[in-house]
Symmetry: C2
Subunit: 249 residues, 2 copies
Amino acid sequence: MNKRRKTPLEIENIEVNSCTIDLRMKIIHGLPFFQNLSDKEISQINKSFSDTHYNTDDIIYLDGEKAARLCVIASGSVKLVKQNRNGNEILIDILKPGEFFGNLDPFEGSIYQETAVVQTQACIMKIDTGNFRNILNTYPSAALTVLDITLKRLRESQEIVKQLSSYSVESRVAYTLLKLSEKLGEEKDIGLLIQIPLSRNDIAGMTGTTPETASRILSRMQKENIIQTGRKWLAIKNIDLLNKMIDLK
Amino acid sequence: MNKRRKTPLEIENIEVNSCTIDLRMKIIHGLPFFQNLSDKEISQINKSFSDTHYNTDDIIYLDGEKAARLCVIASGSVKLVKQNRNGNEILIDILKPGEFFGNLDPFEGSIYQETAVVQTQACIMKIDTGNFRNILNTYPSAALTVLDITLKRLRESQEIVKQLSSYSVESRVAYTLLKLSEKLGEEKDIGLLIQIPLSRNDIAGMTGTTPETASRILSRMQKENIIQTGRKWLAIKNIDLLNKMIDLK
DNA sequence: CGTATAGTTGATTTGGCTCAACATCGGTGG
DNA sequence: CCACCGATGTTGAGCCAAATCAACTATACG
């Protein structure tokens, strides 16, 4: 075997100053809750956003801090994590450009519920709670869309609760891989490649288990030709089998 | 020992036709999202609500059904449950008069995420999704309050996820008892009595364990004089110790 | 290339589930 | 009013999935 890169992940070339005005407008317009607004309105809203460039592993905010802003990814990717008391981290989500996180709550006084860490260097747009509330008050349909999205997140969280309270780790891993592939998967020669550096530790954090157990399960899946995996990457070769694993056993 | 009732729970006397117009108005006005509205507005909103009387163990709606209504308890109490695949039930919440459940989502097309079962006979007020959406569109502050409440529920759900993925059953039971006592506890001679019929099975469902394990843990807590418990009732004698148990071990 | 980081695999331990037998409560009907 | 019986709760024994601890290997990056 030769010594070339073995990871099939594509290395992203990110321009450092990627937050052009055009990109900002495009991102804001793409937000589900601002989709119905006119260019003029978007351009008005744009003024309430600031943007900041971050490098890999920078922390955008910490779990427990006073939550004062809603953040939107203009470029790059962000991980949302929580610490559990074993010192392991719970990986809540991985976000791509156009997605938002931080404080959605229109009222003051809430605190961030997780830590946001930059995964690949990113440009993050931010709007503070007061301005966001004003916008939601001005455009009721935006408020309803935010509500809709929050309810969707609530449902996802409740699904995880259900799984944690009765599904095997194997089922949970299968479920998580499917969710990830829906969101981040890209068809490649190897299979459906999950286009983010995904470690055993990350998978453990998303499924409520340990890296060792995650590794054992992924090894087994690889042996059965359901997935193909290496250091920080993973591709799905047989979606149907994976789907069956969720409810099997 | 004599043959008197051993349960310290108070038996409720419920009038069957308890949904008077006064009660309806009071309940609607008490809803957090309608709190700032005038009597005239409330009275207008009242017209969109219907009410129905239910008996114990009646099902208001089933998990998976098309979700068309928001429900509010005028009197009585309601349990929200989900089924996990071991056939055990997950108890999501127990609701009292003034609390609401069902579909908050202003858009059509969602389905109920749980089953709502009447725990003690109840009068339930209902408003359908379309009317509710109109109200939220008319009163943006109401929409923001609904959003705020949904975010609170999301946080609670995420806290459960965190606990399930790293806390012992004992910690989870302690946490659950504290939450229940905050919501439903009443000071009595015996201690802080949780005023609902609460079985081992219910506690198991709220903590993601089995009735047997729940029973063992409660027995231990009783031996240590932290709680006092019997058939379908439970009182907390030492809140501080219970609090410590959450993070201990 | 060398080394730190990530991943694998095995051995051992254990918390909590399962199955099972028994005890107790409290509502019901004789 | 009391005896009975179904529902609820308790307790024990054995088992198993997954955690923990530990030694080792492979990978990618400088």
